[in-house]
Amino acid sequence: MATIIVVTSGKGGVGKTTTSASFATGLAQRGYRTVVIDFDVGLRNLDLIMGCERRVVYDFVNVINNEANLNQALIRDKRVENLYILPASQTRDKEALTKEGVERVLNELKAGFDYIVCDSPAGIERGALMALYFADQALVVTNPEVSSVRDSDRILGILASKSLRAEQGDEPVKEYLVLARYAPERADRGDMLSVNDVLEILGIPLLGVIPESQTVLQSSNAGVPVILEDSSEAGAAYSDLVDRFLGKDLPHRFTSAQKKGFLQRLFGGS
């Protein structure tokens, strides 16, 4: 029976899709059969980040409407075994994601996968609500910045009241914080909310800190999940995050500024 994990945030542009792509890739790399679903109907982008945009034939909404079956719509990743992508539809019909339809597709996927990762759209509209409704666990992606933290808190409220688990009075959705775009030097200087500041405000366990890194943009340019760039800090941080999710007790890296030598400070380089 598969575990359903929603990657959510409320605010846009904080790194939900980047996190979904790397998290799902990491789970699959470790041998778990994993599918990552794009819930952003009308603004499909996970396919670009995963580098499979030219292989999209059918999508999530086609499957919901019985215009295609799952085998036709699922895209098998060419780099990592056990990894599948279910792309969002580009339809402009906001009502396309019905609760019954989503439930049916998830139930069908549950039979064949260990993990189902739901990449939520920004906002608190239908797509976002559907992405989190059936979740067992949630990765709340937050940037160390006021509007992102506030929106994350709002999403935590929605997870606690509007999810299926909340409605049925089951054990609540397990929530984890993913702090992305973190710049330790700026936090040390007092210019940016620190890891501890954000933890204190949101009050949920920290799964990983992803440092601000040029590699994230470079890998999205290339359509390669950043976790596959294992020599980069962001890639290593996502690897640790996946291991921690699977129960490994790893210390957090990239949370404090590295001491730079005088020459390094002079000539930059990150």
Partner: protein, 99 residues
């Protein structure tokens, strides 16, 4: 990001402390609102309205439901504005003349 900038750093601004303080205030406030208006409140209001309407003709705007929380004690405040006497009589006897 000049050369001098990176050698002689700008003095610390500590704007993060301000951000944290503002966030703590707004987040606490918004969480309070969530707790203070449980999901059943709109339904409760609608059903109360239906019961009162059996006896007195009132509309949606004349009933106010408010939940307050003080020192771990919750107070449900219900405020129903009854219509003026004349108005009520007129509504009760739509076919009859003046009373």
């Amino acid at each position: 990001m000049g050369l001098l900038d990176s050698i002689f750093r700008a003095p610390p601004s500590k704007s993060a402390a301000l951000a944290k303080e503002r966030l703590q205030i707004i987040v606490t406030h918004e969480r309070g609102n969530r707790r203070n208006s449980p999901d059943y409140l709109p339904t409760l209001k609608k059903e109360l309205l239906e019961v009162v309407r059996k006896y007195v003709p009132i509309d949606q705007s004349q009933i106010k439901v408010h939940l307050d929380r003080e020192d771990g004690c919750e107070v449900l405040e219900l405020n129903i504005t009854l219509p003026e006497e004349e108005q009520r009589l007129a509504q009760q006897r739509p076919n009859g003349g003046e009373a």
